[in-house]
Symmetry: C2
Subunit: 231 residues, 2 copies
């Protein structure tokens, strides 16, 4: 299952709650990126998720739903990423919603499509941090502990460092890469240029490019070539 | 790693904070049980844990520390069980203490000895329930969801149904056994006779016998034969 994602160097994350013109979506989908992740932190609904999925499905690349609310678990994605927010201050984002989803849909799920992500939210000013009451006041040692938690204790296929909106500390990302053994290291946050894509890609296994798609499409598309050249 | 525990049908759980005479300990250790788990919910210290370990070490059976406080992580056990209380109401018992332990000791740990347990506390009146603010008001469907969470989402080697002090609902234990695929099902709580040991053993992979060791040693020892006969 996690083999499918192993080779991914670059993914775009698209937000169902934000509008993206057909032409822009086409450029994103034909950019050469490895996959599209559909996900966001607010105003995610079943309808806007279905809508975005159906538009992405015109293209051949893998499409993943990063589940953020049990109300928008739409069938038809290739994979489902299930965030477990390791530094959440509220059990809702670690076990609570997951338990209710498993209770209501557990017997129907195709487990080979489900990929838990050990998530650490590192920008205290982002929506996700407020929502999950995340403790973002972390030292390097704290983050390495979360890396080991995802990788060793919970044996999750993904450890995800999310700086959401700001470009993070690449030394910490590199250190996390050294600490983890089985998990794949995802990095997201503030990648708004080919240069930053390259820096992040030197540290993490997979980089996630999000906001810049909406803010500056040319720069967003250019992040793909920057990363793929290093292959 | 989890192979070591696969064949275990019966284990005794001994509490470092409770006193047990040498003669009684010898009978427990020579009873034919598969292993001793050292663990408890209150007044566990480094000193009383070391003391109990050294006394058990005179005998040849496997000895496991179920970590309940980071202050009493004593080296020299064969394995370390790391409880993750899936129905805890406070993140401390799911990720909090674990993160601090990984931060302080993460680089020193021998991971092949570490076994995460997906724990569900089912007796609302027990010490562990109060401590972890566990939601014990659970339906069968809720418990099956936790079973899937341990087994499928977190891929833990153990799913542990803990009724601590009372004999639980064996139908629910049987249902959990049907739902889980990879995890080993541990059952603990209220096994104070060979009859109850047999019932619990018919439902779970591994039964944990605790309090009765202190309350009625003869009955405790008799639970071993009851279970081993069914092999």
């Amino acid at each position: 299952m996690s083999l499918q994602i192993r080779g991914w160097k670059h993914v775009f994350k698209l937000d169902p709650a934000r509008s993206l013109h057909d032409d822009a979506l086409e450029r994103v989908c034909l950019s050469g990126t490895d996959a599209i992740i559909v996900g966001g932190s607010s105003d995610i609904s079943y309808d806007n998720t279905v809508d975005l999925l159906s538009r992405i499905r015109r293209y051949e690349l893998p499409c993943v739903l990063e589940i953020s609310t049990t109300e928008a678990i739409v069938p038809g994605f290739d994979l489902y990423f299930i965030p477990v927010v390791l530094n959440a201050g509220n059990t809702e984002w670690i076990t609570g919603q997951h338990q209710r989803a498993l209770r209501d849909y557990g017997s129907l799920l195709r487990w080979e499509q489900m990929i838990p992500e050990g998530y650490v939210i590192l920008n205290e000013n982002c929506t996700a941090a407020a929502l999950t009451e995340a403790d973002c006041n972390l030292t390097e040692q704290d983050i390495m502990a979360y890396a080991r938690m995802a990788d060793k204790l919970f044996r999750m296929p993904i450890f995800y460092m999310e700086y959401s909106g700001v470009f993070g500390n690449m030394e910490w990302v590199q250190q996390a890469a050294k600490v983890i053994q089985g998990a794949q290291l995802f990095y997201g946050g503030g990648i708004d240029s080919p240069e930053k894509a390259l820096q992040a890609s030197a540290a993490a296994d997979t980089i996630v490019v999000g906001n810049v798609v909406y803010d500056n499409l040319e720069q967003a598309i250019a992040t793909v070539a920057a990363v793929k050249v290093t292959l």
